[in-house]
Amino acid sequence: MTMENKKVTDLRDIRLHGRGGQGTVSAAALLALAAFEDGFESQAFPKFGSERRGAPVEAYVRISHTVIRAHNQLYRPDAVVIQDAGLLRSEPLLEGLTPGGLIVLNAAEKPEGIDDDFRWVCLPASQIGERHIGRPLPNTVLLGALAAATEWVSLTALEQAISNHLASKGEAVVKANIEAVREGYELSKPNPP
Amino acid sequence: MDNRDPFRYNVLTSGHRACSGCGEAMAARMVTDLVGPDAIYINATGCLQVFTSHNQQSAWQAPWIHSVFANAAAVASGVEAALRIKGKETPVVVQAGDGGTFDIGLQCLSGMIERGHDVLFVCYDNEAYMNTGVQRSGSTPHAVRTSTSPPGQFSQGKQELKKDVISIIAAHNMPYAATATIAYFPDLKAKVEKAMRIKGPRFLQILSPCPLGWAHDSALSVSVSRLAVETGLFPLVELEHGELTGVMRLAEQKPVEEYLRPQGRFKHLFANKAGGVELRHLQALADARIRRYDLLNVDTQWDTETAMQSERHGRGGYTVSSAVREVK
């Protein structure tokens, strides 16, 4: 896929990495839902295949001003969300990331040896998630961070998406995740110039 | 519709094209008249289906459907589910041969039982694929000649044993599973009626001689099936939730040879020494079954002698279980 194509449809592509059980696909769905709440067209889908707990997982989100018709895979993300920094050692997580693209990483600090072309947001999302949710779930924290860093989706929309999508899991879960997404958002707001 | 007989429905009526003396036709007539016309019948592919629905002429006088060979139990599951959701209590009965039960149909049958569908599954066991010309099935007994288990220099017929399907069925925590045969109508009637009083999956395996495949005189279908019981080769048992709850005691044990002699499918066993070994093997199998079910000593309501008894003015006909169900 070429950059020209992207301009035609004004797409924003996001790729999410994690391990089975970390809520990676859920995060993609939440992100697409939030974009949809904000009035965009959106689409989310997992890297197709069977799901195995602990195995590397990928999911994708397309956000666009216009109707998304493509149902093929996504190769040139504008942002990559990494839920487990350990995966950096074994998986080509940054492959296809557009120059100047954003990396949202679940880590206390930026690992060494990463290309300076990319923008970075690092935060200990598992710890934050554990504090709010009771389990080390980084996904909604990282979504908050992504929203803060890119402004592709609003915090309100993310909160709304969480309320809708996780409603079946109970109010407590919704509340905890909203707190988590808020903290991730707050921590990642760019410093005022 | 045919109403010639004032004393029964003839759910399976005349004009069907079964061979002369067909044990399966007889068994099916007994079962379906006991269950009655207020039921839905599902038939697996096989002789019964072919000879009763031949070319735009049907011998059935109740709702009846045939789909394919293996799926009768699954079709019945669907019919039963549909009736359940509609709040109807119409009984559902599957009829299949031994192929459609022991072999190709076993998976669907197992699923039907495991899911607890309220269906009576009746297997007319004639111990081979008769519809296609007498090929061996999982039900074919040891040493039987079929067209795919022929005797020869290195063979005395089927090498393997008859599959113990009733135990397989019973192992499903099955509410009711029983064996029966056409020779003992009162016993068969009691079992069908009992089955119809029970809710959930129920199974009847009815030994139904095939004059063509067993190569016996067509007049001997009943006699031969009786001998199968009297020799101990085909024990008549009832199992409820896996427990043995009923047995037909043998008034006396007859030697298997009495059963084997009239049947051409065992003829080769009488021809040479190797056959003689198999005769002793078959006797040993009968003895083992007698021991397993304690057929000679068990305390039962009936035995092979008393269950045979004819009575003046019959033993009751076909007044029937659908009525029993309505009461329940």
């Binding site: 697409a32 689409q43 149902h71 093929n72 | 049907s58 045939h66 699954a74 669907g78 959701i85 998976q107």
Partner: protein
């Protein structure tokens, strides 16, 4: 109101709205989310139906066969190996003329085992006597499922709604779910004249002989032909009531003045549309035509749409091994019958989940030496090598 829903969940909602009384299925990727959701609906009391966990797809198909014969609207879903395991029963359902509706979450057929999307499964049972509708989006899957019951029950034909596994089933997209009242207004309650019932006993599925079997097949063929205007009419009626239509049998895209037309089925047409838009912007006279209804095969309508094309490309995600493209072959026959001599380029791609990217589609529209060699068919180029070539070309200047 539009919602962002996973495709499986969206069609599960559509199934629920059609109020089937019996749902039977056996799990197989990528169909599982559909039946899981339906099981949950039944468990929650949101759908008053019997949910039957079949022991196999063969059993599942047989269960819905029985349920429909007993007068209950029913549903099943499967894919791939599961569909092939159903094959015998699929023929039987069609032969018994039972209006069963199912979803095939299209997936490749092994070996080697592969869980990803292509159309080999449903194409393999194309002769079984089922109406086959291939959908492009999850919205269309929802709408088509509702139409499918109407078609099946009006025509006495079973209908298979084919939606690409993963590409649709596992993708979250905005979908407008109709209300129960709207669906009820479109889909009348199920009435089946041949219901198994002691009140009116009948024999179904009897044996047939040489002197009448052919007549059964002729009747099925006639019913299929009669179904074509019905499918179109119901899509139009659906449009009136719901404000959405999906082309009936065929859906054109920029066919006006198109010299090169690409014909395809299913979700791949989204990327094709993007590419056609782009090439049109560049001034190229390209267009596309989506075959929504593969069975019955709309030969005459296809010939009408393609009469003025100068070049026809058929891209399909299945292969008749030993022959080539299936849709292409049927299209060639249809055009030949209509006296149209335009050559049909047969391209097979997307097998086993191989991605059909815009680059690939664009490449197909370009004339290549391979096209002109007059091959019966060819495989689509691989997207990765194409991307590499493109990048190299850009880098080189």
């Amino acid at each position: 109101m539009k919602q962002l829903l996973e495709g499986s969940l969206a069609v599960a909602e559509a199934v629920r709205l059609c109020l089937p009384q019996v749902v039977a299925a056996y799990p197989i990727t990528p169909q599982t989310h559909i039946i899981e959701r339906l099981a949950q609906h039944v468990a929650n009391g949101e759908l008053e139906a019997e949910f039957i966990n079949a022991e196999s797809e063969f059993g599942a198909a047989s269960i819905v066969l029985g349920a429909v014969a007993a007068g209950a609207r029913s549903f099943t879903a499967t894919a791939s190996q599961g569909l092939l395991l159903m094959t015998e029963v699929l023929y039987n359902i069609a032969g018994l003329r039972l209006p069963v509706v199912m979803i095939c979450a299209n997936r490749a057929v092994g070996a080697p085992i592969n869980i990803f999307s292509d159309h080999q499964d449903s194409m393999s049972v194309r002769d079984a006597g089922w109406v086959q509708l291939y959908v492009e989006t999850n919205q269309e899957a929802v709408d088509t499922l509702i139409q499918a019951y109407r078609i099946a029950e009006a025509c006495g034909l079973p209908v298979m709604v084919c939606m690409d596994g993963f590409l649709l089933t596992h993708t979250f997209e905005p979908v407008d779910l109709p209300t129960q009242a709207m669906v009820d207004g479109f889909l009348p309650p199920f009435q089946f004249s041949r219901t198994l019932d002691p009140v009116r006993p009948m024999t179904l599925g009897g044996a047939s002989e040489a002197d009448n079997f052919q007549e059964y097949r002729a009747a099925q063929q006639a019913a299929m032909e009669d179904a074509m205007p019905v499918i179109e009419a119901f899509d139009a009626e659906f449009n009136e009531q719901f404000g959405r239509e999906h082309g009936g049998l065929l859906q054109p895209c920029h066919l006006d003045g198109a010299e090169t037309v690409l014909l395809g089925m299913g979700s791949l047409m989204g990327v094709v549309r993007d590419v056609v838009d782009k090439l049109r912007d560049q001034g190229q006279a390209v267009g596309a035509l989506r075959l929504r209804c593969f069975r019955p095969f709309p030969a005459q309508a296809l010939a009408r749409y393609l009469a003025s094309a100068k070049r026809i490309i058929v891209l399909e995600k299945a292969i008749s091994i030993g022959a080539g493209g299936i849709v292409a072959a049927e299209l060639r026959a249809a055009l030949h019958q209509a006296g149209i001599t335009t050559p049909v380029e047969s391209v097979i791609g997307g097998l086993g989940g191989r991605d059909l990217t815009p680059d690939v589609i664009e490449a197909l529209f370009q004339k290549s030496s391979e096209n002109e060699a007059g091959a019966t068919f060819r495989f689509a180029p691989d997207h990765k090598s194409l991307t590499r070539q493109n990048e190299e070309a850009m880098n080189n200047g």
